[in-house]
């Protein structure tokens, strides 16, 4: 009964958000385009033969960066910006009265946006294969399933981190600057610009304990068929979710107690 209710709610939310997202198709297409930085990085790597030093062939490296592009497309999160706007405009107040945590709404927004973005990402991948025909490959079904799961887990980790930051809006009003600060290690340590294998040894010794390599490097390696430790990756992802979720619940609870309505 209760499960059915939740199910219906989530389905309705998704449907509403999906039609909302379809209204801004061009916006979403442009956003998909803005994620092509991994391809520029790939160009630097292959054009200067930098991959020889880390023992990854050109083809494997191009698959890695293509997968990094895909993982990024389906794990990018912008809750902080939505929540900050809603909280500054006073839209959070009506959400709080509803018998549903407002973060479900943002969650549905993100999923709907990913569904809208999927065809555009496929088109970009299609062009990528035209320019790099030798890198075409078909991953086996089990691996594909695991990498979709790990991409989703990566999305969950980022969603939780950003939600925690978003809750700081209750205290500081502008949380987006903290988000920009957190984005820096995400950008440089997640493997979006360079695979984590290529990092110097002293960085590699501690980086696998942080959540960053599991955001892009691990799912991308898994999907592209590069060498990676599957059980460690998945368990670290789950561990981080178990660490972050109670923190989010706690900060949300404290925040709503502190909340004073804004706007009208």
């Amino acid at each position: 009964m209760i499960f059915n209710l939740i199910n219906r709610k989530i389905f309705t939310l998704l449907k509403v958000q999906y039609s909302n997202m379809l209204e801004y198709r061009v916006e979403i297409a442009l956003w998909a385009v803005s994620g092509i930085i991994p391809f520029f990085m790939l160009n630097i790597w292959t054009n200067n033969n930098l991959n020889e030093s880390i023992n990854i062939s050109d083809v494997m490296l191009s698959r890695y960066f293509l997968c990094a592009f895909f993982v990024r497309q389906f794990s990018v999160v912008w809750v902080v910006f939505s929540f900050e706007e809603d909280s500054l405009l006073g839209k959070v107040s009506p959400y709080l009265i509803q018998p549903l945590n407002p973060f479900f709404r943002y969650f549905a927004q993100h999923l709907a946006e990913q569904i809208t973005r999927f065809p555009f990402a496929l088109i970009i991948a299609f062009f990528f294969f035209i320019f790099n025909p030798e890198s075409i490959w078909i991953p086996n079904l089990g691996i594909l399933f695991l990498s979709i799961v790990s991409t989703f887990l990566s999305f969950l980790i980022q969603f939780l981190i950003q939600s925690i930051v978003a809750c700081l809006c209750f205290w500081t009003e502008k949380a987006s600057s903290i988000e920009r600060l957190l984005f820096i290690p995400t950008l440089f340590l997640s493997g979006l610009l360079a695979p984590v294998v290529s990092f110097p040894a002293e960085v590699k010794s501690w980086i696998y304990l942080t959540p960053f390599p599991y955001l892009i490097d691990f799912p991308a390696n898994l999907m592209s068929g590069n060498e990676t430790n599957i059980s460690r990756g998945l368990s670290m992802q789950i561990l981080w979710i178990f660490l972050l979720f109670p923190l989010f619940k706690r900060i949300w609870f404290e925040g709503t107690k502190k909340y004073t309505a804004m706007g009208s």
Binding site: W31, S34, N43, R180, I184, P185
Partner: protein, 264 residues
């Protein structure tokens, strides 16, 4: 054009926007830390590229640092002036407040491009300058008068090109209403400015010097620093910069003809 009037107005702009930005003091502090970490991250990434190769696209690590320094200065300028103002155009047009700007007895492009300032970009500019000074020392560059004038000329041309690109995309809002994500695409292309143009493949090099002249923005000023630049390249940069500036001005006046107010 009455220069002293415009100077006076600009002083007022500076005063009011600094006062309103300084309200969020912790925000500025967080932004400062972000700027420092971002520079560290970029140098880290660059050092990965140079780990086993002495050269990238014919540039040594010490030389590539110059590009990084110039990029940091330009990024600081973007964050201080272009980003806060030109994203505001989108808001002006969506909410119909551009009417108020057009009614003022002052040039609308001047008003819209210089109204706001974000002081946290200053640190990036200072960091960039220090990095450049450091590069001048490690590359043993002689400071002569001709070197100084040439570098000032090329860097100011870069600023003009950068401004025109931003302004051009923001102006298209008059037709498309929402262009946030077009700005994101521009940002991700500008990201390329951190690396020497020669490190990319030939087709990308052509793309980044003809369609989006990112090559001109950082690579030519860095070549001036190293004394590698030929005179024709500098002349070309001056021509490109003036063409961009004039076109952006013409385009703004042209676009205004299509502006129909949104609010009333």
């Amino acid at each position: 054009m009455n220069l002293s009037k415009y100077l006076n107005v600009y002083k007022k702009f500076l005063h009011t926007s600094l006062a309103s930005e300084l309200e969020y003091k912790t925000n500025i502090l967080v932004d400062l830390i972000t700027a420092i970490l971002s520079l560290i991250g970029s140098i880290f990434l660059l050092s990965i590229f140079f780990q086993n190769n002495g050269y990238i696209g014919g540039w040594k690590f010490e030389q590539a640092l110059i590009i990084q320094g110039i990029y940091t200065i330009l990024n600081g300028i973007t964050n201080t002036w272009f980003n806060p103002n030109l994203t505001e155009i989108v808001k002006h047009i969506r909410e119909g407040t551009l009417d108020f700007v057009l009614l003022k007895p002052i040039d609308s492009q001047f008003f819209i491009s210089l109204k706001k300032i974000n002081p946290s970009g200053f640190l990036e500019i200072i960091l960039g300058f220090f990095l450049l000074l450091f590069c001048i020392r490690i590359n043993q560059i002689n400071l002569s008068l001709s070197f100084l004038t040439l570098s000032v000329i090329t860097i100011s041309c870069s600023i003009c090109i950068l401004y025109s690109l931003w302004f051009f995309i923001s102006t298209t809002t008059i037709w498309f209403v929402k262009t946030w994500n077009a700005i994101e695409v521009l940002r991700s292309f500008l990201y390329i400015g951190r690396f020497p143009l020669n490190s990319f493949s030939f087709s990308l090099r052509v793309f980044f010097s003809i369609f989006i002249p990112i090559a001109f923005i950082t690579t030519i000023p860095s070549e001036v620093f190293l004394g590698l630049s030929q005179l024709w390249k500098i002349l070309l940069e001056v021509i490109v910069a003036s063409v961009f500036l004039i076109t952006s001005r013409k385009f703004w006046l042209f676009a205004l003809k299509f502006y129909s107010s949104a609010s009333s």
